[in-house]
Every structure is written in structure tokens, then in C-alpha cells.
């Protein structure tokens, strides 16, 4: 019991009056509460906006604008969409490809002639058996070339030239 009486006597403890005055003045003049209040009100407004369903409405409008933008453009600017002719563009592209192929064929045949003439020119300085063998080989290749190549006129002219 005496222990509890001792504890009750501790009630007389008081803070230093100078400290109390200073601390009180500092806390009440801290001014941070105003900022806290502003933040509190800002928070309330934002949460109120969210609560009232503005966010849902805004999202719906954005979705409508995104999905419907293409059809709206089509209605507003029909010329821009009509100008684009997909089939015409396709045909044009195919035509360009065909031309390239034709030129490639011509180029390939032209280079074939040049190769054959160059090998013929290289074979001329050879003498003796090796020269004869070479000539026989080139003769065979010429014959095979004659039998396989489609434009016979060019090959025959080349054979004539090599002989």
C-alpha cells in the first residue's frame, strides 16, 4: 500500500516553467499545421472527385474517342480515304517487279557472252597437246551450251567466232 502512496506522490512532478513557455510558443508558432491542413483539404477534394464517379465518366469518354476516332475521321474527311486505291497500288508494285526481272535476264545473258569470249581469248596462246585438249574441251562445252541454251542464234554466232 505504501508503494502505491509513493507512486501517487510522483504526481507533484512538474516541468520547468521556462521550458514549458518556450516549447508551447514554438509548437503553436511552428506553422506547419497550415500546410498539413492544406494537404488534408487537397486530399479530401481528390478523393471526393474519385468518389463521385468522375473518373469513370472520364475513362468512358476517352475509350469512346479512341475506338470511334477512325470512323469519325472517315465521315469528316472522305477524300483522304477515297484517294488510297489498294488494288491499283498492288498492280503497280507487281509491274515494277516484272521489269526488274526482265532486265536481270538481259544482263545475265549479256554476261554469259562476255565470259565465253574471254575464255576463248585466253585459250589462243596455248600450244601443243594441251592446247588441243583445251580446244576439244571448249568444243564440247560449246556443243553442250548449244544444246541447252534457248536462244540458238547467239550461241551459234559465238561458236563461229571461237573457231
Amino acid at each position: 500500500m505504501e508503494l502505491i502512496e509513493l507512486l501517487k506522490k510522483l504526481r507533484a512532478i512538474k516541468a520547468d516553467s521556462g521550458y514549458t513557455k518556450e516549447s508551447r510558443a514554438f509548437i503553436l508558432n511552428s506553422g506547419k499545421h497550415e500546410n498539413a491542413n492544406l494537404m488534408f483539404f487537397a486530399k479530401e477534394i481528390i478523393s471526393g472527385v474519385f468518389r463521385s464517379g468522375w473518373s469513370i465518366a472520364l475513362t468512358a469518354v476517352l475509350l469512346l474517342l479512341t475506338i470511334g476516332s477512325f470512323s469519325v475521321l472517315k465521315v469528316l474527311y472522305p477524300i483522304t480515304t477515297a484517294v488510297v486505291d489498294v488494288t491499283g497500288l498492288k498492280a503497280e508494285a507487281q509491274a515494277i517487279d516484272a521489269q526488274i526481272e526482265l532486265t536481270n535476264v538481259e544482263y545475265a545473258s549479256a554476261t554469259g557472252i562476255e565470259n565465253k569470249t574471254s575464255t576463248a581469248r585466253m585459250a589462243l596462246p596455248l600450244t601443243g597437246q594441251s592446247a588441243k585438249r583445251k580446244q576439244a574441251q571448249s568444243g564440247q562445252s560449246a556443243v553442250s551450251a548449244e544444246s541447252t541454251s534457248t536462244p540458238p542464234t547467239i550461241d551459234s554466232v559465238l561458236n563461229m567466232l571461237s573457231e
Binding site: 508503494l3 506522490k9 512532478i13 521550458y19 514549458t20 516549447s23 514554438f26 503553436l28 511552428s30 498539413a36
Partner: protein, 182 residues
């Protein structure tokens, strides 16, 4: 409870400094006592008490009346501040050193014997568990009700009664062992 406390709290929540000033005047001595008995050092008690009221003023907009007195909210802030202080202080100062600095310099000493006994009580309270300290100080020094204490320590009223019983028992035991009498 302070007269017209509800209106004062409402005004303080709205940002009226003078209303909070009145709350400060009423509760500062209680909070200071609570803190001083727990930490023993006058300087620490002053720092913590200042911080408690500064925090309360800065966060008063978050205060909600849940049926407990305003003091419960302040005691809870104080309790947490003391825990934070101990957490950082434990690394710097040994608790044995702090014991030597216990001071009850409030002019309450009718004679030197009472002063010595009060200092002994404070020293032994400090050696109790945090929850026991809180319950003893709030129940016997501050004269708070079981319900109010339960709100501060966030436990049931039954748990507070049990804690109070154990705390007194332990304090008596320690006191008798060390000083021969209670």
C-alpha cells in the same frame, strides 16, 4: 477531462492555435510526468514531451473521436516516442549510466527520506517491462481509468487489470529484495 474539451478539440482540428494551446496547458504536465518516470532524465523528458505535442499539433487533422478521451491519443504518441528514443539511445548509452541521473527536482520533497524513496521507486519502475511501466504510471500516478489505459496500451480491460496486478506484484518484490521494505 478538460471542461469544453470536445469544442476545443474541434477548434484545434480546424487549425485554431489558441484552442490547441489550452489543450497543451492541461495535458503537458501529465505527459511530461509520464515520460520523465519512464526515461528518468530531465533533458530527454523535455525533448520527448516537446516532440509529442509538436506531432499532435501537426497531425491533429487526423484525430478522430473514437469514444476515448483526447489524453489517450496523447499518451499513445508519448509511449511511441519513448520507444523510438530508447531504440536509438540503447546504441549510445548504457542503461546503468542513465540510472544515476534520476532526478525528481520538483519541490515535492518534504524531507530527504521521501526524495530517496521516490528516486528508488522511479528506478525500479524503469526496470519493469514497458507495458507494466505504462499501466502503473497511468493508473496510480495519473489516475486514469482502466478503460482509458486499455485504449492507450491497445489491450482489453481484462488484460489491463491483469497487467496492473502483475506489475504491482513485481515492483513490490524487487523493492523488498533491494531495499528491504516497500
Amino acid at each position: 477531462m478538460l471542461d469544453g474539451e470536445i469544442k476545443l478539440i474541434e477548434s484545434a482540428v480546424k487549425g485554431k492555435a489558441s484552442a490547441f494551446g489550452l489543450l497543451y496547458d492541461h495535458y503537458q504536465p501529465k505527459i511530461y510526468r509520464f515520460v520523465l518516470i519512464k526515461v528518468s532524465r530531465k533533458e530527454d523528458a523535455e525533448d520527448i514531451t516537446h516532440q509529442v505535442f509538436l506531432n499532435a499539433w501537426q497531425n491533429i487533422s487526423n484525430y478522430k473521436d473514437l469514444g476515448f478521451p483526447f489524453s489517450s491519443w496523447l499518451y499513445r504518441i508519448a509511449k511511441n516516442q519513448v520507444i523510438d528514443k530508447y531504440r536509438t539511445k540503447r546504441q549510445e548509452v548504457d542503461l546503468e549510466d542513465v540510472d544515476a541521473e534520476i532526478s525528481v527536482d520538483s519541490g515535492i520533497h518534504e524531507n530527504i527520506e521521501i526524495k530517496i524513496r521516490l528516486e528508488r521507486v522511479m528506478k525500479e519502475i524503469k526496470n519493469l517491462k514497458q507495458d507494466y511501466q505504462d499501466v502503473l504510471i497511468m493508473r496510480f500516478v495519473e489516475d486514469l481509468s482502466i478503460k482509458e489505459v486499455a485504449a492507450v496500451v491497445e489491450k482489453s480491460e481484462g488484460a489491463v487489470k491483469l497487467m496492473q496486478h502483475r506489475a504491482i506484484k513485481e515492483l513490490k518484490k524487487v523493492f523488498e529484495e533491494k531495499h528491504g521494505t516497500n
